[in-house]
């Protein structure tokens, strides 16, 4: 169990806001921190990691207190056993892929773990390359397994996939899920991509102006308790076209366009560009605004 209570004054582009959060993470949970930029998502991750100090607060992981402003406890980042995956990878440019991974090992004798990890993300052939020879997706894979080799108590991912194109993003989402299912480390990831939230997380915290405005399972949050769909995707409305008495809604999901029908009542609420959830329940696809 991880307990996080923190307050901090933040200066953002929209002016000064007060970040105030209080939440718990159960073991083996995969939490998405979702919200507009400037809401304080990254700051929350950094406070858990020990890279930014809260003005006041309390952070406890299992039985260890990492931060307690009341008692003056503030464990340095090195002692927190976290893993942090940064948006821009942050691989060490002077080290090869393998050296980057070796650097993360707690115990140099564990070097056989590196081969396993490289195999898991299909990078064995590139292990002797420097990071500047790798593509964005490959770099982020190395960053992911480097973080894991540190054997963290909590896995923090700061928009890990935002600089990748969609195809790679989908692929790496699968890999993050596979890693999560294999290691079952409590994980928090920051994203502003709803499809990522639906695909990856089992809990979502929605952050606005430094406050958690909603929390729960993604389906609950977005009012989809009725859904038990076999598939669901988030996309944008490209076109709303009236054909006789039904609307044909063209939705862009990734690179693909899908046409879904909607009644006039439903379609009246929607505009081109709206973000929608397309899901199939039994046989008929349904579509709703999120």
């Amino acid at each position: 169990m991880i307990i996080i209570k923190a307050k901090k004054r933040l200066i953002t582009s929209q002016g000064s806001i007060s970040l105030e959060v209080d939440f718990k993470i159960a073991d083996k949970e995969l939490i998405a921190l979702y919200g507009p930029s400037g809401a304080g998502k990254t700051t929350i991750l950094r406070m858990i990691a020990g890279l930014t100090d809260p003005d006041e607060g309390f952070i406890k992981v299992d039985d260890e207190v990492w931060f307690d402003s009341g008692k003056g406890i503030n464990k340095p980042v090195q002692k927190r056993r976290i893993s942090y995956v940064f948006q821009d990878y942050n691989l060490f440019p002077h080290m090869t892929v393998r050296e980057n991974l070796e650097y993360a090992l707690q115990n140099p004798k564990d070097y056989n773990l590196i081969d396993d990890a490289l195999e898991m993300v299909h990078l064995t052939a590139l292990s002797h390359c420097k990071p500047d020879k790798l593509s964005g997706g490959q770099k982020q894979r190395v960053a992911l397994i480097r973080a894991l080799l540190h054997k963290p108590k909590i896995f923090l991912l700061d928009e890990p996939l935002s600089s990748l194109d969609l195809e790679l993003r989908l692929k790496l989402q699968d890999e993050i899920l596979a890693i999560y299912h294999r290691f079952k480390i409590p994980t928090i990831f920051v994203t502003h991509d709803l499809s990522e939230v639906f695909k990856l997380s089992n809990q979502i915290l929605i952050l606005e102006q430094g406050k958690i405005v909603r929390a729960g399972k993604p389906e609950e949050i977005f009012g989809q308790e009725i859904l038990s769909g076999e598939f669901k995707f988030v996309g944008n409305i490209l076109e709303l076209k009236l054909e006789d008495f039904l609307y044909i809604v063209t939705v862009q999901i990734g690179h693909n366009c899908t046409k879904v029908i909607a009644t006039e009542e439903e379609a009246r609420e929607w505009r081109v560009g709206d973000k929608v959830l397309v899901a199939a329940k039994a046989f008929n696809p349904i579509i709703m605004k999120v």
Partner: protein
């Protein structure tokens, strides 16, 4: 014609010793100035750069005052440790280290300042201490700055005159470096000797700076 090589050997011995000491104190000093949150750095930073603007004779004059056997410190060192600073090689080293300090510290400082904070945080997040991060992540990535510091520290010590003359006093074989030998030879109208030393210093300085430029051009900028 026989040339006395001792001023040249002395010059390079002094430059090598000074550079070695400068590396040892320059890296931690630059690191401290860049990363410390303490206000004291605003006092230390201009002190490091003082030799850039002060006449060398000022520095030489103060070192002479502080370490002369008549002074408290000079007397103390001589009585209890039998260490003489003034008119000795040790004195030259102390003067050169102080005088060349900005040439070593400033390039390293610039390298550290432009080094991405995020890579330092990545290293910390993997549980690495500040020292390990410095030696395994930061320093290997700012090699061009280190090299510039080392070469400039060395070259500047080779070219020193005022401080060395004030503290060393031009004792042949002990404190008479090449730059002072040139001055003496010109005064004595001994132009052949002066040409010999001057030519060697000129070529050496050029080769050092030329090599530095080539090396730093070859180093691929990775940051």
């Amino acid at each position: 014609m026989n040339f006395d090589l001792s001023p040249l050997l002395l010059t390079f011995k002094l430059a090598a010793t000074t550079t070695l000491i400068l590396i040892i104190i320059g890296v931690p000093l630059a690191y401290w100035v860049v990363f410390t949150p303490r206000k004291l750095k605003y006092l230390v930073e201009p002190l490091i750069s003082m030799p850039l603007v002060l006449p060398p004779t000022v520095l030489g004059f103060y070192i002479l005052l502080f370490f002369s056997p008549q002074s408290w410190l000079g007397n103390f060192l001589e009585t209890f440790f039998h260490i003489k600073i003034v008119f000795t090689f040790l004195g030259l080293v102390i003067g050169s280290v102080l005088f060349s300090l900005p040439f070593m510290v400033n390039p390293i400082k610039a390298g550290l300042q432009s080094f991405p904070q995020s890579l330092i945080e990545a290293s910390y997040s993997l549980g690495k201490s500040k020292r390990e991060t410095l030696f395994k992540v930061i320093l290997p990535n700012i090699k061009p700055s280190l090299l510039t510091g080392i070469v400039m520290g060395f070259a500047h010590t080779v070219g020193e005159f005022g401080v060395v003359l004030m503290i060393g006093g031009s004792i042949p074989g002990v404190t008479r470096t090449a730059s002072i030998a040139i001055f003496n030879d010109v005064e004595a109208l001994n132009y052949a000797n002066a040409h010999f030393y001057a030519g060697i210093l000129f070529v050496t300085a050029f080769v050092i700076l030329f090599t530095l430029n080539i090396l730093n051009r070859k180093t691929v900028k990775i940051i």
